[in-house]
């Protein structure tokens, strides 16, 4: 146990030191992890051993990441993206295979060259997606193109695994990487194997679509959080085992499960539960890539490896730019697309191992390629940096006279915390204006009903930071707080102010006192729950008493304006009073009296001055 804990401590400490440092230097967390890996690796402080095993285990982080990516992609959105996925992704993979294969064929037999091309055509899903997310580029159009290509590459792993053994030049023991799951189906005849594959995909679909909801609801009703976390983890691990058993990529399996669950109300709950595990595993995975850099090899063959890395990045970059042009991507997006994907991917490590054990590629060659891929992955965040520093500013200046992008109202992210009586009408208004809020509510029955009416409602306690995070608080523009509980509302405001200082806050205050509490926190947009209704009813009353409707309307508006103007003064008065000892009732009475005094000073003639003034002359 202790050596394990010690190892864990080394990893975690390395991450804790390196990542904040890297972010401080604007390098992104991925580069931080990679550097941490080099430092604690065999060529640094030599603090860890058995890196391959660590890397193999933490590859599971990639599986979890694809589950999370799937959760964010509704089936309809995925269907909309079918052209970029198949077209752009297919073009990138095929042309890259051809280009790398062609160049490599000058140096090695064609089988080796083709295998190399197949393996190097893939890019690093882990690094690229992580970096895109950090930069907030996931939902931009180049971000989506990048994602489409990565998705196609993940799908392409399956046929590549199937084709590689056919390229074997020396006979080796096969099947070494098959059937690592509980059951080994490789012994089955092919038609049964196909059947097993189809059945398991069908199983995932049924599980996600029909079984998961009642299951999660039961678990959520227990209100024991760990059980939900356990269920989420069991789901992801179970699916990846199943996929491995039938010989499919676990990442693909969990991705499908994620997409199926993307419509579920428990999506955010799942996201926030899996996220920390994914983050840690991926972090350690990146550390192990850093640690696996073989500096002895790199040192002795420095020129060759540098040349190969350069060739890899240049060829992939050129192909990407060509594909971008082929698919008529705007010029300023092409560069990001090209820079983002011009590296080797983590699947290459797996595939090179696979190729070696199947006798497709000789050991020295795979050693070399693994270093090349690792270096190119190390360079990936630096390429992003290069893009940010050199390319992006130039594109900005050349496109200066281009009109600013119109922000679609449907793209504006609004979080609506609390969906009770007040939140419901507010949500209806927003939806009518074309803004679809992400709704958080704690009432299971509420959530169920509202979902049936087509609202995007998620179950959970809005004052939980992780739920806010997965509801998209980091990218959201505005949070509207309509929780019934004043204490919870105050808590939520503090939480948002602390963690998302850029998120705008609009809040409902149950009464005047609650409004003062929010003013203490510096919230600017505060509406008192019953105030609007009181004034509207007042207008109705005046009208029923025979006031001209426009007169009644003017009085309401004027009253509201005066009340708003008096608010800061009353606030000061109330806060001063609180310092002295006073019973709450006394204070309430005093406040009311002050309020009434203010009201008497409201000059209703003010609005009509223009209409009634006599002209000074004639």
């Amino acid at each position: 146990m202790e050596p394990f804990l010690l190892k864990l401590l080394i990893f975690l400490a390395a991450a804790v030191i390196a990542v904040p440092l890297a972010r401080k230097c604007n390098l992104g967390s991925v580069l931080g992890y990679l550097i941490a890996g080099i430092v604690i690796g065999p060529f640094g402080l030599s603090l860890m051993e058995d890196i391959d095993a660590v890397m193999h285990f933490t590859e599971f982080g990639v599986v979890m990441m694809l589950f999370l990516v799937g959760l964010e992609l509704k089936p309809t959105l995925l269907w909309k993206m079918r052209t970029p996925i198949l077209g752009m992704g297919g073009a990138q993979v095929l042309i890259t295979i051809a280009a790398i294969g062609f160049v490599s064929a000058f140096f090695m037999p064609w089988q080796h060259a083709l295998a190399t091309g197949l393996i190097l055509s893939l890019s690093s899903t882990a690094i690229v997606l992580q970096t895109l997310r950090e930069k907030g580029l996931m939902n931009t159009s180049p971000g989506r193109s990048v994602f489409s290509v990565l998705l196609f590459q993940d799908l392409a792993v399956i046929p590549i695994l199937a084709v590689l053994p056919l390229l074997a030049t020396s006979v080796m023991h096969t099947g070494a990487h098959h059937g690592s799951g509980i059951v080994d189906i490789s012994a089955l005849p092919p038609y049964l194997r196909l059947l097993a594959v189809l059945l398991s995909i069908g199983f995932i679909f049924i599980l996600g679509k029909y079984v998961s909801r009642p299951l999660f609801r039961t678990i959520a009703a227990t209100r024991v959080r760990e059980v939900f976390v356990a269920a989420a983890l069991a789901l992801v691990i179970g699916i990846s085992l199943l996929m491995t058993a039938v010989g499919l990529s676990p990442a693909l399996g969990t991705f499908i499960a994620g997409v199926v669950l993307a419509d579920s109300e428990y999506r955010h709950e799942l996201e926030s539960d899996i996220e920390p595990f994914k983050g840690l595993l991926l972090g350690i995975f990146f550390i192990s890539i850093g640690a696996s850099l073989n500096f002895t090899l790199i040192n002795t063959r420095l020129a060759l490896i540098v040349g190969m890395v350069a060739a890899l990045i240049l060829i992939k970059g050129a192909v990407l730019l060509a594909v971008a042009k082929l698919f008529k991507m705007p010029a300023n997006e092409r560069w990001l697309f090209g820079f983002a994907l011009a590296q080797g991917g983590e699947f290459a490590f797996v595939l090179f191992q696979f190729a070696r054990s199947n006798g497709v590629l000789p050991v020295p060659l795979t050693e070399m390629f693994i270093s090349v891929v690792a270096i190119s992955m190390f360079l990936a965040p630096l390429l992003f940096l290069l893009y940010d520093r050199l390319i992006a500013p130039r594109l900005q200046t050349t496109g200066a006279d281009r009109p600013a992008d119109v922000v679609e109202s449907s793209d504006r992210k609004v979080i609506l915390a609390g969906f009770g009586r007040l939140g419901t009408d507010l949500g209806r208004l927003l939806i009518a204006a074309g803004i679809k809020p992400v709704i958080l509510d704690h009432d299971e029955a509420n959530v169920d009903i509202l979902r049936r009416f087509g609202f995007e409602v998620y179950y959970g306690d809005a004052t939980r930071l992780d739920l806010l995070e997965s509801a998209g608080a980091a990218e959201a523009e505005l949070i509207i707080i309509t929780l019934g509980d004043r204490q919870k509302s105050l808590e939520l405001v503090k939480l948002v102010q602390k963690h998302y200082p850029d998120l705008k806050i609009a809040v409902n205050a149950v009464d005047r006192r609650a409004a003062y509490d929010f003013m203490d926190l510096g919230v600017a947009t505060i509406r008192r729950e019953t105030f609007g209704t009181a004034l509207t009813l007042g207008q109705d009353a005046l009208q029923l008493l025979g006031f001209h409707p426009y007169e009644a309307y003017k009085i309401r508006r004027l009253f509201r304006k005066k009340d708003k103007e008096n608010m800061p003064e009353l606030y000061k008065m109330v806060r001063k009073d609180t310092d002295k000892y006073r019973s709450m009732y006394q204070q309430h009475d005093a406040n009311l009296a002050a309020l009434m005094r203010q009201d008497q000073e409201i000059d209703m003639e003010e609005l009509d001055k223009a209409w009634t003034a006599a002209s000074p002359e004639t």
Partner: protein, 201 residues
């Protein structure tokens, strides 16, 4: 019998004695629809289709309002802006108002002496209401010179006030019963300059 729609706009109606008198004189008349715009749309959210149906259902359209800064109160302008749509009120297919009689009835603070080229307002009432006349023309309506009550800022004596209200009622009734000589009326500067001269019978 012509149907008459009176579009009335006054933002502080209960402070205007003369407009109250004018309103009382015509509001209850048969086949006259008195439509208080500020009462119907205190928040200015004008129901355009409803207003267009109203116009289509009447033969005479009257704009009654105080003369603010040589123009109409805000809601009347808003009404013109929104309701008089292209292809409904004007344009090659816009014939909904074609042939309807149009009258502007206004109350102004300044007296007749102010509304002259030598007076403080530099222009006559007809000159200052030219935009409304052009609007009526573009909508192919039969324009009449404005019914204008001037000099009200001094406050009108009770009997003058009721005299104006009676004149207004007479004019509206004549319009309703087809007893107004439109040709003749157009030769006057103001409609209420000499009512007896233009009303038959």
């Amino acid at each position: 019998m012509n149907k008459i729609l009176i579009l009335f706009g006054h933002p502080a109606f209960n402070r205007s004695k003369i407009n109250a008198a004018l309103r009382a004189a015509v509001e209850e008349l048969e086949s006259v629809t008195f439509h208080d715009l500020y009462a119907s749309y205190p928040d200015f959210l004008i129901d355009v289709p409803h207003e267009q149906r109203l116009c289509e259902a009447h033969d005479v359209i009257v704009l009654q309002h105080p003369f603010y800064w040589y123009a109409t109160p805000a809601i009347v302008k808003e009404w013109l802006d929104l309701v008089l749509e292209h292809a409904w009120a004007y344009g090659s297919n816009g014939t909904a108002l074609s042939g309807k009689i149009f009258l502007q009835a206004l109350t102004a603070g300044g007296g007749p002496d102010n509304y002259r080229s030598e007076g403080s307002n530099l222009f006559t009432i007809q000159e200052l209401t030219a935009p409304i006349r052009a609007t009526a023309n573009l909508c192919r309506m039969d324009w009449l010179p404005p019914f204008a009550i001037l000099g009200i800022h001094r406050g009108l004596p009770e009997e003058v006030c009721s005299q104006h209200a009676q004149d207004y009622r007479r004019a509206i009734l004549a319009l309703r019963d087809n007893q107004l000589d439109l040709q003749r009326a157009r030769s006057f500067e103001l409609l209420n300059q000499d009512l007896s001269a233009i009303i038959n019978g």
